[in-house]
């Protein structure tokens, strides 16, 4: 047996390992495999309060509440399927909210996430 057998075996083992690791990484890098969801404002810097729910979890039902200080002004349900991002527009006149803390709370599978803006 010569060195070439060792070389070709090494290349073969490495290729197998690399393909396996690449598949593992590809699976891990897919957020849809991680059971997570995110909540964020469409525009973080101005007073717009439209928000988005980005869902990478198996739960597709979301309940949202829009509150000014601690008073609930609006609420609703949203169905966001796996891998989907849903924009939820909130049409409220900004002057009405002056000086208040505007909070968006979203609940899914008993987990609550909040984002907020403090209006001047």
């Amino acid at each position: 047996m010569n060195n070439k057998t060792i070389i070709f075996s090494t290349i073969f083992f490495l290729m197998l390992s690399f393909v396996f690791l690449a598949i593992v990484e590809k699976k891990a890098s897919d957020p849809n495999n991680q059971n997570i969801w995110m909540l964020y404002f469409e525009n973080p810097q101005n007073q717009a309060i439209d928000f988005k729910i980005e869902n990478h979890s198996s739960n597709v039902s979301f309940h949202w509440q829009f509150a000014a200080d601690k008073t609930i002004i609006k609420e609703g349900n949203a169905i966001v399927s796996l891998g989907e991002t849903k924009n939820i527009p909130v049409s409220i006149s900004v002057p009405e909210l002056a000086g208040k803390k505007i909070t968006i709370s979203v609940t899914s599978d008993s987990k609550v996430k909040e984002i907020y803006k403090n209006f001047p």
Binding site: N3, S17, Y40, N118
Partner: protein, 641 residues
């Protein structure tokens, strides 16, 4: 699925093209292709390719051309054609002189054993890497920022960063000596040619390949060191066993791969390859080997300063020990060495080195402040040297014990070939002193970093010591030998088991219980969100303590090495030796404090990325901060204007 297959195909093709072809061409041009076995050529071509590609990319960048797909392939084609031309010319000129081809053969059982050991090495490392293959490591994130800079700008990177000054403002970017171009060019070339994504498995896979090559380099170097021994195959296979499947995960092996310790990993390949070529040059008195060794040493200097520094000490100690052991014939040897050095091939490489260092690209660490931080009396406790127990733990207990015995045997082994003996002693002793008593050599570098280099010579020495002891007992006169052959056989296996248990135990200690991809994906998703919303006058701060994969965040912005600024480990803010900026800590830990408010005003930071489970409370109480993004492990706050 089809895109995955095509990306894999493209990646493998690129690895072949970038990491083997240039080196093979260079070996052909030197006329040494018949002097190396296939395995030596395989590993040498890989090592040389890294350096050739580095220098070609530096030349492209410095000549004003863009470092892109077309120019890299064009330059490599020209390089290949020149090498081929030299090869053809040599072939025609040397028709009368036919060198005997170096034997490729290993006994079938030995080959099979080598293949099994390589399989085990790759298998164990793969098992470990599957949990960390999704990129999150801090060092790798830093390195990939510079690599992406090369790939996206098409130019060599300017290693500089902006810092927060004492008056709470941001400085203009200033040069940094922490990074070396050779750590990034090879990754940039592979990314550009293959189109691989930076946040993917590709950086770790390339580093894994380099690590496996360094293990094989130890195997071929051991073969070279003990070429004249009748037990050469046994010693080299045992060295492969000690450095391959055993202790396969601890630093500087798979842990350095997953951690993105690029310079060290490449250095661990270049050091044995340089020693192999120097050994051949001295033993066979052939200047071409010497020239190739100097070429790899030059490549090492463009890749990793610590490895180069360590190599200088190894070379110095090897020569010192050789001189001490062969004092009477030293004059003759010096004449031979001078003849090697003052040969056209070696002088040409020295000239290339001078031109590159002084006129084309000076490595960033070649400035007085960087040199002063590495040389001198140890400045911190972590640089004052390890205890013997710490060194034993780094080198691996069983490996260390036998290596210590082997050093004594080597010192007394007068019959052994002079050069291998001096090289192995010089390599092991220099690293041991640098790790245990750095003050003796005026070395001011973290001792554990130096100690990580000890494992390779220890493995070789341990393998030699093991085989030496058993071969001595076995070949002793049976009448005088009070040990039965069967008892000897059992002792052999007991000792091998001791090695295996020690090595595999270390492997098991290093295995992860899970991965942190879930947390890192959230960090990257928030970074993608923020990158899409940021304007030129927005600045970001993120936390390094509780966010996963945070060093990769800058790859989403590509607005500077320190963009976003980072709250580092808390201990870094307490330094009695110098004043550290406190802004990055205050702005997250105490955002309402007057100090933090001054920092926000001075740095213009208006977005903060942090882990809501640890740091959201102090922001939730403040009216001028809005929480604009949230996930389980990351939140983004905006400082309203």
């Amino acid at each position: 699925m089809l895109s995955f297959i095509s990306s894999q195909f493209s990646f493998f093709l690129t690895l072949g093209l970038i990491l083997f072809v240039p080196g093979l061409c260079l070996i052909a041009a030197t006329g040494l292709q018949r002097n190396f076995s296939s395995l030596e050529k395989f590993i040498l071509s890989f090592s040389l390719s890294i350096i050739v590609v580095d220098f070609i990319l530096i030349l492209i960048g410095k000549s004003g051309f863009t470092i892109n797909h077309l120019n890299i392939l064009g330059a490599l084609t020209i390089f290949g054609a020149v090498c081929l031309g030299i090869y053809m010319y040599r072939k025609n000129a040397d028709t009368k002189k036919s060198t005997e081809k170096t034997s490729d053969n290993l006994p079938a059982k030995s080959s099979l054993l080598v293949i099994i050991l390589i399989f085990l090495t790759i298998f164990i490392k793969t098992i470990y890497l599957q949990d960390v293959i999704f990129p999150t490591a801090t060092d790798m994130g830093h390195h990939m920022y510079w690599t992406k800079t090369i790939a996206t700008t098409g130019a060599l990177p300017k290693y500089e960063k902006a810092d927060i000054l004492q008056d709470n403002t941001v400085s203009k970017p200033a040069p940094i000596a922490d990074f070396i171009i050779g750590e990034h060019l090879i990754f940039a070339a592979i990314a550009i040619i293959s189109g691989a994504q930076f946040i993917s498995a590709f950086p770790i896979l390339v580093l894994f390949l380099i690590n496996v090559m360094s293990v094989l380099a130890i195997f071929i170097l051991t073969k070279e060191l003990f070429k004249d021994s009748k037990n050469v195959n046994l010693i080299s296979i045992l060295a492969l066993f000690l450095v391959g499947p055993l202790y396969a995960l601890a630093s500087p092996q798979a842990k350095f791969v997953s951690g993105g310790v690029i310079g060290n990993t490449i250095g661990n390949l270049f050091i044995p390859m340089t020693l192999l070529l120097f050994l051949r040059a001295f033993k066979e008195k052939k200047s071409t080997y010497f020239a190739l060794a100097v070429f790899i040493a030059l490549g090492m200097a463009y890749t990793h300063h610590l490895s180069t520094f360590v190599f200088i000490f190894i070379a110095f100690f090897s020569l010192l020990i050789f001189g001490a052991l062969n004092f009477k014939e030293l004059k003759t040897y010096c004449a031979q060495w001078l003849k090697l050095v003052f040969s056209p091939a070696v002088l040409a490489i020295f000239a290339l080195a001078i031109v590159f260092v002084f006129f084309i690209y000076t490595p960033t660490y070649l400035n007085s402040s960087a040199i002063n931080t590495a040389v001198g009396a140890p400045s911190k406790a972590s640089r004052a040297g390890l205890t013997l127990t710490q060194l034993k733990s780094t080198a691996g207990e069983a490996r260390f014990a036998l290596a210590a015995v082997a050093i004594v045997i080597l010192l007394l082994a007068k019959k052994m070939d002079k050069y291998p003996r001096a090289f192995l002693l010089g390599w092991t002793i220099s690293l041991s002193i640098m790790s245990l008593r750095p003050d003796w050599l005026f070395v001011d570098i973290p001792s554990d970093r130096i100690a990580s280099y000890v494992i390779f010579p220890s493995a070789i020495a341990a393998a030699y010591g093991f085989v030496f002891i058993f071969s001595k007992i076995k070949t002793a006169n049976p009448e005088k030998n009070y040990l039965k052959q069967s008892l000897l056989f059992y002792c052999f296996f007991v000792l091998i088991t001791f090695f295996a248990v020690s090595g595999f135990y270390e492997n098991s200690m290093a295995l992860n219980t899970g991965n942190n991809a879930k947390e890192a994906i959230q960090t990257y998703a928030a970074s993608t969100y923020l990158a899409g919303k940021l304007k030129a006058n927005d600045f970001v701060l993120k936390d390094h303590n509780y966010l996963t994969g945070d060093s990769w965040v800058k790859l989403f912005f590509m607005r500077g090495y320190n963009f976003p600024f980072s709250r580092g480990y808390f201990k870094r803010y307490q330094d009695d030796t110098k004043t550290r900026e406190q802004c990055t800590n205050n702005m997250i830990s105490l955002p309402s404090s007057p100090e933090a408010q001054k920092c926000f005003a001075g740095t213009k930071i208006d977005f903060v990325m942090l882990n809501p489970n640890n740091d959201a409370a102090q922001f939730n109480r403040l009216n001028d901060f809005w929480q604009v993004y949230t996930a389980d492990n990351i939140a983004v706050f905006y400082k309203a204007k």
